[in-house]
């Protein structure tokens, strides 16, 4: 009875600083959760450092201002009259006929940033914010707005949450997406005012008790914002702003925000956010969201009490700075608890970008912009095939995997997407993708060479299991994996074959002998259920 009622182990561990063992296993756990896949080079780089130093470094991005997306689309069929191939289009001029081409360029560019992420949490947090402040590019259909929106999320990814909410509120893409630019004093549009409270700050938890009237009142405060499609900035038009006083419900202590005229009307937004951010629920809501993104979707009573609540206190005490929260989380006993390792189903982006990074897939360099963007587009497309088209989440609520009770992350895996994941890894192992003399492919020999003992079939399998899986697998299963390398022969023949290749590395016959067998092994390893877990 007990066993069925309590299927899984739980933890009481909280935010006390983790002082347990700090081995490659814990390093991999931290890297998998904060980056897209843990690469061999990153593991090696970080494992000599202390846990605290590693977390600090991961929270300090170095590539903070990436160069913007480029024209990769000039071809026989499409030609941008203003922007040359290889130049950026983000400064305009706008050109509706090129919207699709530029949006594709933006998607590819974003994939490129994730593939080439620095040793930091920056890209995973940028995607977190995209899921949080979800907008759909195919709805607002402006690639320049899209770029600016993306940049906003990235520039503020580890900054001040309250400032980010303010910036997003008047961000051109968001103003189009949630009708802010149609919000006017005569007929307030409540769309953004609702999501601001329901999805972006307070959430719908039981302690979030804002009212329908609060939505309408907030909408009036937000009247007057418009987009300038020449300089791609938003601006405040006092003439469209509702200048009456706005009074909120008892949830907000019946607060009245005094109506302002002229340019001062804009300041009501700051007062609105001050009022909302006084609510403890904001910090709790956000900490739960971070928890579901980085740890696991189920937040049991112990986690609520021992993790979410103290984390929310840290968030408030630091004036809604994000870094202290992440620092406390990633240094906590809770984060490293065995219960929380290996339980996160990889999102499509995590799976796909991680697949490329962990296997050292080489992409064309920047001298080949067309081919480079083409290959980055492939990565976008495989994410899209798995139902995570970044840039276009299914709705303003983001991807259901982060809110849909009770399935949550399991939504990513179904009878359509799981075979696709396997097909993607199969194709990358076997043939890769070619274009214009360039190819992205997993080189199985290069993969084997990342490990210390590739000549020893069983050691290589052990090391690969540790690298690709969090969970261990049985010795029977490892023996089966080893059989891919041995082809029914004694283990010494693998060693001979490997050493023969190493002794004459330019001999393609010798190389192919080991490559063929490694391909089978890699394909198999990546097709097992264990490979879907982070």
């Amino acid at each position: 009875m007990i066993a069925s009622a309590q299927r899984t182990a739980r933890t009481m561990a909280g935010l006390d600083t983790y002082t347990g063992s700090w081995t490659e296993k814990e390093v991999i756990h931290l890297l998998r959760r904060t980056m897209f896949g843990a690469t061999r080079a990153d593991i090696t780089y970080f494992k000599a450092k202390s846990m605290s130093d590693v977390v600090d470094e991961l929270l300090t991005p170095t590539q903070t201002n990436p160069s913007p997306p480029l024209n990769n689309y000039n071809s026989g069929r499409i030609t941008d009259p203003d922007i040359a191939l290889g130049d950026t289009w983000v400064n305009g001029p706008s050109n509706p006929a090129l919207n699709n081409a530029r949006m594709n360029s933006l998607r590819a560019w974003w994939a490129g940033l994730m593939l080439n992420q620095d040793r930091s949490i920056l890209e995973k947090m940028t995607l977190f914010w995209h899921n949080h402040f979800a907008t759909e590019m195919t709805v607002y259909r402006d690639p320049i707005f899209g770029y600016k929106h993306n940049k906003l999320l990235r520039d503020n990814a580890l900054g001040d949450f309250k400032s980010l909410v303010r910036a997003v509120t008047v961000d051109p893409a968001m103003l189009v997406y949630l009708n802010g630019e149609r919000n006017t004093k005569r007929a307030a549009d409540e769309n953004y005012a609702r999501e601001l409270q329901e999805l972006f700050t307070l959430g719908k938890g039981e302690d979030s008790k804002y009212t329908e009237e609060d939505v309408r009142v907030a909408a009036r405060i937000l009247t007057g914002w418009r987009n300038n499609r020449t300089n791609f900035e938003s601006y405040f038009n006092p003439n469209l702003h509702d200048t009456d006083d706005k009074t909120f419900s008892s949830f907000f202590n019946n607060k009245t925000i005094k109506g302002q005229t002229g340019a001062d009307g804009e300041k009501e937004l700051d007062e609105l956010l001050d009022m909302i951010f006084l609510q403890d629920e904001v910090a709790k809501f956000m900490c739960r969201k971070l928890y579901r993104w980085f740890i696991y979707y189920e937040i049991d009573a112990a986690a609520e009490q021992n993790v979410i609540e103290p984390l929310a206190v840290i968030f408030r005490n630091n004036n809604y700075q994000i870094k202290p929260v992440l620092s406390a989380l990633f240094k906590s006993e809770h984060f490293y608890d065995a219960v929380n390792q290996g339980c996160l189903i990889k999102s499509p982006v995590d799976y796909s970008v991680g697949l490329m990074r962990q296997n050292g897939v080489q992409f064309p360099d920047s001298s080949k912009v067309v081919e480079q963007y083409y290959m980055w587009t492939i990565v976008y497309q495989v994410c899209s095939l798995q139902q995570q088209a970044f840039g276009d989440p299914p709705s303003v609520a983001g991807w259901p995997a982060y809110y849909q009770v009770p399935q949550y992350h399991e939504i990513w895996i179904n009878t359509d997407t799981l075979p696709k994941r396997n097909q993607i890894s199969d194709v990358m192992v076997l043939t890769g993708v070619r274009r214009g003399g360039e190819q992205i492919v997993i080189d199985p020999v290069a993969v084997a060479e990342m490990f210390d003992n590739p000549q020893d079939a069983s050691k290589l399998v052990e090391d690969m299991v540790d690298y690709y899986y969090t969970l261990d697998v049985s010795s029977d299963q490892k023996e089966h994996m080893t059989s891919f390398l041995l082809s029914g022969q004694a283990a010494s023949y693998w060693t001979l074959a490997w050493n023969a290749y190493k002794a004459d590395p330019t001999n393609t016959t010798l190389r192919n002998v080991v490559a063929l067998r490694l391909q089978g092994l890699l394909k198999y390893i990546m097709n097992l259920a264990e490979h879907q877990l982070s």
């Binding site: 992350h409 082809s487 877990l533």
Partner: protein, 530 residues
């Protein structure tokens, strides 16, 4: 239109064709209307069972050239089988089998087994891996091919695979490998055609979908979930499971499970064939032929490692053949053994033999031309340590014969699958009865005349289709089978065309679009998300 062109013209993703096979039908519950298109025709029902003897089999102690006994004894005195124990073949006084091979000797004597002597290839390679690759790809010794001969044969028969598979015409795996991983032999032109049931135990693992016990924690919970989905999405796994349940074994000759791994595997093969699986080729393995040392027990040379291996081989083949006959399947099944090379004529000082060259192959079944093909190798009276059995037949001639006489390929097709022209041998009766029309129909199975993108979609999706000329009807059904839109209903000229389905007024869910162009009819699912 060729599938490849079709995909290339739609998205820049043609290089990942396997991703484009849309949604697996079984995941959508396979409504009745999906079955109305099933075509009934006779399949080519010939099955080939390949037995790979990993390690390099010592052919000279397997098929013993009795007339060379004296010279051979000099070259390998420490491992030579006593002449009195050799199982001399009926009507072939100069040739006999190893004393362990009573079962296969009986098959030979009863006309169900044929021996092809001294099979190899020019310029033999003595590396296990490299020589295995040569046997699998059927390349020349100095060439590197990346596809296997079985894979190329199946690519020829099912050019659309894996897009549109499984389907009503070919609902089952094209080739099943039991006992090892899917090997190069199954690698087709672009994708591997094989499915592995990794070993007899894993056959049950496939059914239960489990390898390593999942831990009792959050990770274990998610692992169980993913495995469940994996099981559900593996249509072939289900087909194999069903065939396994329906099938049975009839002979009492199989040893107990676990005693003879090859027999265990062949028993599963017989069970699956009797269960109705349409799989064309099964690959099974017996490991351990790399007998450098202690191939025999000193002083008792008819016992030891090699004797045990040949005993397993013979017992397994004999039991399997008996099973197949009792199951009434004898005209459908052909077996063939191969090994990456034979072993040296001269033995070494460790009572073993080192890597060699040519060796015999066995073919068995009711439709082999019984007997011994070829002459005994000639053994000189002064064998040097590096001397090898010279090749008498090229292994690719054996393959070509199987393709021509068992799988009924035209000569030009045989050449195309083999990559070059090889002589064929008279080892099989001509039992080809599949018409070219039937083969053509199979070849087209899985071909896409219609597809949509994107899928899933939010409001609009584009349906691309090919017209062979004449009337085209494209209708959209909901999941109750009701027609909700007719998108095309007119004469459409030959070529590729597109029509957009506007679903903005329809609820989220699964829809089906049905394409009809005379005899060509296809129905496919698409998913509307909101």
């Amino acid at each position: 239109m060729k599938r490849k062109e079709f995909l290339q013209s739609t998205i820049p993703f043609a290089t990942l064709p396997v991703l484009m096979n849309g949604l697996p039908l079984h995941a959508l519950g396979q409504p009745d209307m999906m079955n109305t298109l099933s075509k009934a025709f006779v399949n080519t029902d010939h099955v080939l069972v390949l037995i790979q003897m990993n390690g390099g089999n010592d052919g000279l102690n397997t098929v013993i050239p009795v007339d060379q006994y004296s010279n051979l004894s000099k070259a390998r005195s420490n491992i030579m089988i006593p002449l009195s124990k050799v199982l001399v073949l009926d009507g072939e006084d100069n040739t006999g089998f190893h004393p362990s091979m009573t079962g296969m000797r009986d098959l030979y004597d009863n006309g169900k087994l044929t021996v092809v002597q001294s099979v190899g290839y020019p310029n033999p390679n003595f590396s296990h891996f490299r020589s295995t690759d040569i046997w699998h790809t059927a390349s020349d010794s100095n060439e590197e091919w990346h596809s296997g001969w079985v894979g190329r044969y199946l690519s020829n028969e099912f050019p659309n695979y894996p897009v549109g598979f499984p389907n009503d015409d070919m609902p089952d795996p094209l080739v099943l490998q039991i006992g090892s991983v899917v090997s190069t032999v199954c690698q087709g032109v672009s994708v591997n055609m094989g499915m592995a049931i990794s070993d007899p135990d894993a056959y049950y693992q496939l059914v239960t979908g489990n390898y390593t016990q999942s831990p009792n924690n959050r990770a274990g919970k998610e692992l169980d979930y993913i495995r469940l989905v994996a099981q559900q999405s593996n249509a072939y796994g289900q087909a194999v499971k069903t065939a396994g349940e329906k099938g049975n074994n009839k002979t009492t000759k199989y040893p107990d499970a676990g005693e003879n791994r090859l027999a265990d595997q062949l028993k599963i093969v017989a069970q699956l064939i009797s269960g109705g699986l349409k799989t064309r080729i099964y690959v099974v393995n017996i490991n351990g032929f790399d007998t450098h040392a202690s191939q025999v027990v000193a002083g008792s040379t008819d016992t030891g490692v090699h004797a045990n291996l040949l005993s397993d081989l013979s017992e397994a083949i004999d039991a399997f053949q008996d099973d197949i006959e009792q199951l009434g399947l004898k005209d459908r099944v052909l077996g063939m053994t191969y090994s990456e090379f034979g072993r040296r004529i001269a033995s070494n000082f460790s009572s073993g033999t080192d890597h060699g060259a040519a060796a015999p192959m066995f073919l068995f079944g009711a439709n082999v031309k019984p007997g011994l093909l070829g002459d005994n190798p000639t053994i000189g009276d002064n064998v040097q340590v590096q001397d090898n059995v010279p090749m008498q037949y090229d292994f690719r001639s054996v393959y070509a014969s199987v393709l021509k006489d068992w799988f009924c390929l035209e000569d030009t097709e045989v050449d195309s699958v083999m990559g070059k022209s090889h002589d064929t041998l008279s080892v099989l009766n001509d039992t080809c009865n599949t018409s070219s029309a039937q083969r053509e129909a199979l070849r087209r199975s899985g071909e896409a005349y219609v597809m949509n993108y994107p899928n899933p979609f939010t409001a609009y999706t584009t349906i691309r289709y090919e017209s062979t000329g004449g009337h085209i009807l494209i209708q959209v059904f909901n999941n109750q089978g009701q027609v909700i839109e007719t998108l095309v209903d007119s004469e459409i000229p030959h070529g590729e065309h597109e029509v957009v389905f506007d679903a903005s007024n329809h609820a989220a869910g699964t829809y089906y679009y049905r394409y009809q162009n005379g005899e060509l009819q296809q129905t496919k699912p698409m998913i509307l998300v909101k």
